[in-house]
């Protein structure tokens, strides 16, 4: 932004804040420093349009209306009570919490927004020291390219279309969604909304969106139903822990530390001339457990239950034949 433009925009804000009357564009052109540079009417209108958009993008509440006088022209003003941040005063421990909150995001969209908020809090007189180390620092990352466009669509209240890849059964299909929000649950991002094709609420993993997210339709059409809790919806859709199962394994002596550290040794047994231990283990995800145990190869064998032994056996069979 050129110095002249920055100066003009500050002057415009100061002028519109100081007036109670709505100022017509021509009046603004005549009195606000910087607009006199516009050589033609058309150049002025282009310049003024750009400036108005810039102010609105920053969240400045630009009002357009008419004064209550006869044959008054419509014009612009900024209502001070809508412009100004309310009074705020933070205790040192509250300011420390804010400093930590600002550091939460590793995200092009949200890091900038949090920094913008911090700037305004500081301008309101709040002292926030960002150098203070925290004992625990949570971090939330947004790396999916779909995040920005989806957040923008949610905020604008617009519907979106995107190609979505479901892994199993494999399928790539275009989805049409009225997005209610983007949700991070256990480190993964989802978008929740009303799926127009299914005519039902659905959530989608951002990492499975292929290509661009296209927003369409008028802004303000989509809004989240008040009774929907986004986070609850996602955590319910992604499934909670299945019941735990106790399994019995044989593990070779001094091997499979990852299995042993969670297990209790209940006996000894030599198999294939290799000494080892019989261990018992509580499993929380029986599905992924088969992969975990199969990964240890000949160092870990399933004794029971039979269904787990079979699953592991099948995986090893496939791996043994796969690279012939």
């Amino acid at each position: 932004m050129s110095v002249a433009r920055a100066e003009r925009l500050v002057n415009l804000v100061l002028c519109l804040l100081s007036t109670r009357q709505y100022l017509p564009a021509e009046r603004i052109r005549a009195i606000v420093a910087g607009y006199a540079d516009a050589p033609t009417d058309e150049a002025f209108h282009r310049m003024f349009e750009r400036d108005k958009n810039e102010l609105r993008d920053l969240g400045i509440p630009l009002e357009f209306g008419s004064n209550r006088t006869i044959d008054a022209e419509d014009g612009y003003r900024i209502a001070r009570r809508d412009y100004e941040l309310g009074d705020i005063d933070l205790e040192p421990d509250e300011a420390a919490a804010v400093a930590l909150a600002v550091r939460l995001w590793d995200s092009p969209e949200l890091t900038g927004a949090a920094a913008g908020a911090l700037l305004k809090l500081r301008a309101a007189g709040v002292d926030v020291d960002q150098g203070v180390p925290a004992v625990v620092e949570p971090k939330v990352r947004t790396t999916e390219p779909a995040f920005g466009p989806l957040l923008a669509a949610v905020q604008a209240g617009r519907a979106v279309r995107f190609d979505y890849r479901r892994p199993s059964p494999a399928e790539l299909r275009t989805r049409t969604l009225e997005p209610w929000g983007v949700v991070s649950w256990r480190g993964r991002w989802y978008v929740v909304g009303h799926d127009r094709d299914r005519n039902a609420p659905r959530c989608f993993r951002l990492s499975r969106i292929a290509g661009d997210v296209r927003a369409f339709g008028r802004p303000g059409v989509v809004s989240r139903p008040p009774d929907v809790d986004l986070l609850e919806f996602v955590s319910a859709s992604t499934g909670e822990l299945p019941d735990t199962t106790t399994v019995r394994l044989w593990v070779a002596e001094h091997r499979a530390a990852g299995l042993r550290r969670r297990a209790t040794v209940v006996g000894e047994q030599t198999i294939d001339d290799v000494p080892g231990d019989v261990i018992e283990l509580e499993l929380h995800h029986p599905d992924s457990a088969a992969s975990w145990i199969a990964g240890y190869g000949e160092d870990a064998l399933v004794l029971e239950p039979e269904v787990l032994r079979k699953t592991v056996h099948e995986r090893l069979l496939a791996a043994a034949g796969g690279a012939r």
């Binding site: 920055a6 908020a117 949570p138 480190g187 190869g297 064998l301």
Partner: protein, 324 residues
């Protein structure tokens, strides 16, 4: 966001900021705004040229400089910062909410008070469209480790711990100098100087099997730097091996869970990826667990190693069937 786009928000915040802190030093203000002192001086010079229509001596913003300090003599009506935008309020308030959920983070009471005050000051700019659930699952052992680690961080003491290294499937004893705790993608980590590795390491809390606070000060060397988590936790190194894999639809999760590159979509939902790995035994465990859902195209040695290990496991499992 480019620096030019950052300028207008800064210009609008600067006068209120100075009013709240009469006599603040230029370098202090520059640090609060995150710009060099040189840039801040340019901003002040620009503001000095701005004011209300008429632009006479009594209409312009008037700043007084005394040595290295600044005060505001006339603000031209810009005495409060601009309200928060919806995105700014969202970024800050969702972050504060997330802190409440993170085990052991900050003072929950202070976080709640800060959030209430910001919500009140933000007025109509209420958080919308983004929700975060860390969903940290913490078993009893991990909760205990966390308490010990936090105690040591507060007291500035070193730790002695038994740690499971998943990449090598080994359990080791280490003495570490704790630096901070992080929560990244729903998992808790201790960042510490490891005296054994003589380097900064991130230790997953759920892989600490036992930990004791020592009666000696934590002394990470001055050159121990905090890990930058913005690009994820996996650090690419030149000595990493690269495997080329074809993932079946049921194994596509690997591409979402581990950093992969050169992703090519194949027919029927299959995916070809290149994946870096630091430790071959770890890679073999992962691939063996995937059974027939993965094909190793490169390197050949990895493919053969995998097949041989699967065959040995099958043969030993066969022995198990005949062992009384």
């Amino acid at each position: 966001m480019t620096s030019a786009q950052d300028r207008l928000p800064r210009l609008l915040a600067l006068v209120p900021y100075l009013i709240a802190r009469p006599g603040v030093r230029v370098d202090e203000a520059a640090a609060d705004f995150g710009v060099p002192a040189r840039q801040l001086r340019k901003d002040l010079e620009l503001l000095w040229m701005c004011g209300l229509p008429g632009y006479g001596p009594g209409d312009l913003i008037d700043l007084s400089f005394e040595g290295d300090t600044i005060s505001v003599a006339f603000d031209a009506g810009m005495n409060r910062p601009l309200r928060l935008t919806g995105t700014e309020a969202t970024a800050l308030l969702v972050a504060l909410n997330t802190l409440l959920e993170a085990p052991g983070v900050a003072d929950a009471d202070a976080v709640r008070r800060a959030a209430a005050k910001i919500e009140a000051a933000a007025g109509q700019a209420q958080p919308a469209g983004v929700a975060v659930g860390l969903g940290v699952r913490e078993g009893e052992t991990t909760a205990r480790s966390r308490r010990v680690v936090q105690g040591a961080l507060r007291a500035g003491h070193a730790l002695r711990m038994t740690y499971y290294t998943a990449s090598r499937d080994r359990i080791t004893e280490r003495t570490v100098d704790p630096m901070r705790m992080l929560i990244v993608e729903g998992r808790s980590y201790l960042e510490a100087w490891c005296r054994r590795a003589e380097a900064v390491r991130l230790f997953r809390l759920d892989r600490i099997d036992d930990v004791t606070e020592l009666d000696e000060p934590a002394a990470p060397p001055p050159y121990a730097e905090q890990t930058d988590t913005s690009a994820g936790l996996f650090r690419e190194r030149p000595d990493h091996e690269v495997a080329q894999l074809v993932l079946a639809p049921d194994a596509r999760w690997v591409s979402e869970y581990y950093p992969v590159e050169k992703v090519t979509e194949l027919d029927d939902g299959y995916l070809r990826v290149r994946m870096r790995y630091a430790d071959e035994s770890w890679m073999v465990r992962l691939l063996l667990g995937l059974g027939g859902d993965v094909t190793v195209e490169e390197p050949t040695a990895l493919a053969h190693g995998l097949r041989d290990r699967a065959r040995r496991a099958l043969s030993r499992a066969g022995q198990l069937a005949v062992t009384p």
